[in-house]
């Protein structure tokens, strides 16, 4: 069984991804034919089915898939780059950096010239700056240092975020931001994909271009360097790719935590623990999980909506505790 999954991992994941996407389009309070709805929407018909599928469920589904893919692949890339199974966009400061960037745009209208792209660009800059500071502070890929540096940068970004909120012109800023940070893919139009989709392609391509480096880094920086690879340049490209992915995801969907941590761990046994072979499957499984979590959120009883990011944290946080426990057993 395990061998079968190993051999057909990517096709299997693609199959499940399509299945979940279909489920996500079909699932909701009103039952609508997915095909009919899609076709009607493509033809610009103003039917109920076209509106529900095309305007509500399609953006939500695509958004969940893209955000999940972005978080999954960046988690896999960061873990490979830092040689650290605990690395995750949220734990190395990238998410908080992105939130800080996006919030600054929200409330002070920085980069107003960029229009709707402003939050995404700010998120990207925030995530990139946070990752760079984290790498500078940690000085190496040593697990304990990376986590400490990530914590430090997250704290700094958190403090700066508090300042931004404190002086926000809008009195409801705090509440808005807290809700937004809980992460959600609902009520976002298709236009948010204009930012996310290119970011996924560019960020994914940057990360995939460094897959050999990630593989070589399994044996450490010296070995990678001795095999003719530039660790410095490659690390920067990988970090830039991850920043691109995390920054744009957070700026559109808020913080959806632990996906980047969880996904690589679930897949590692099926790719022989190879960091280079982990990337594409991590993107696919990330997409599947976030879309699945979003379906679960939609399935909850009406009333106060459970935010998507809250659900992924509820699932992911105990897993993080378990990882620390496992790591502890190695040392005690």
């Amino acid at each position: 069984m395990a061998r079968l999954i190993t051999n057909y991992l990517t096709p299997l994941l693609i199959f499940f991804l399509l299945l979940i996407a279909w489920l996500s389009l079909a699932y909701g309070s009103t039952s609508v034919g997915v095909f009919d709805g899609l076709i009607a929407w493509f033809n610009n018909e103003q039917t109920e089915a076209a509106l529900i599928i095309g305007e509500i469920r399609l953006p939500r589904t695509l958004l969940a898939l893209i955000v999940g893919a972005a978080l999954g692949i960046s988690g896999a890339a960061l873990q490979g780059l830092l040689r650290n199974p605990l690395a995750e966009p949220g734990l190395v400061g990238a998410s908080q950096g992105a939130a800080l960037g996006a919030a600054t745009v929200f409330y002070y209208g920085v980069f107003a010239g960029l229009g709707t792209l402003a939050t995404a660009v700010a998120g990207l800059l925030g995530a990139g700056a946070a990752l760079l500071f984290m790498l500078l502070l940690a000085g190496s890929g040593r697990p304990a240092l990376v986590i400490m540096a990530g914590l430090a940068i997250s704290t700094v970004a958190g403090a700066a975020l508090a300042v931004v909120l404190n002086f926000a012109p809008n009195p409801y800023a705090m509440q808005e931001l807290v809700f937004w940070l809980m992460g959600s893919v609902s009520n976002r139009g298709l236009d948010s994909l204009i930012i996310l989709f290119p970011a996924l392609i560019i960020g994914g391509a940057l990360i995939l271009s460094q897959r050999h480096l990630l593989a070589a880094l399994s044996l450490g920086e010296q070995v990678a360097e001795s095999m003719g690879l530039s660790v410095k340049k490659g690390s920067r490209i990988t970090v830039l790719g991850a920043a691109c992915l995390v920054g744009s995801s957070v700026s559109v969907a808020g913080a959806i935590g632990f996906v980047g941590l969880l996904v690589p761990h679930m897949l590692r046994p099926f790719v022989g623990h190879r960091p280079d072979k982990l990337l594409i499957p991590a993107a696919l499984l990330g997409a599947i999980l976030v879309c699945l979590a979003d379906i679960a959120v939609r399935g909850m009883p009406l009333g106060r909506e459970l935010k998507l990011g809250v659900l992924t944290s509820l699932i992911g946080a105990p897993f993080f505790v378990w990882l620390v426990w496992k790591e502890r057993k190695r040392w005690l």
Binding site: S218, L219, Q222, G228, R268, H273, R274, P275
Partner: protein, 242 residues
Amino acid sequence: MALITVNNLTVEQRLKAVSLKLHRGELVGLIGANGAGKSTLLHAVAGLQKSSGSIKIDGNPINSIPPHERARIVGIQPQAVSSAWALTVADIVALGRMPWGDEDEAAIERAIERAGISEFRDRIIDQLSGGERARVWLARVLAGEPQLLLSDEPIASLDIHYQLAVMEVLKNYSREDNGVIVAIHDLSLAARFCDRLCLLDKGELIALGTPAEVLTETLLSRAYGVPVDIDLEREPPVVLPK
């Protein structure tokens, strides 16, 4: 022509104007006390360490060779390698093909054969003993089939069985028209396996020659600061602190 010619190689505070030559088919042992500059010298030759002076491979300055091509010619097995992930032995050896950008089955097979690790090629690296791992790290470098192999203390912390096994592998590899430089602390094994020895003391090269020329009481007590007992006539030769 010499495979590698090192001239006045200097690394600030660690290596002072070291010059040496190595020919194909030669196994040269790098000896000296801790901190004498053995690793620094190996790293500088492999291009992992900034240095001044000149290093030529087959007469071409190493700086004129692009990194990936240099990596095809010079392979280094650093000290204390470890794998961050639970990779299989075969996957680790295959990483050695990276400078070539291929996964040449035949070369990987030869490396596994040379290092004598075929029986655990499908095992996970974490499950192997220190001695078995040492040969896997060596096989990784061998898979790249470098003309110059640099090995940094490959037998430190190995039992005597594996010490001999690893030294045999290095010796045999040098006999296939390749150059090998090995940093080594065990002077008896250095005398037994190496064609020439290079003795470093506080970053300076103080002797270069056959084991008989380098392993003398004066030179060794100068380099290590302790009196030594040397019997190179014995089979195998013995060099021990008094």
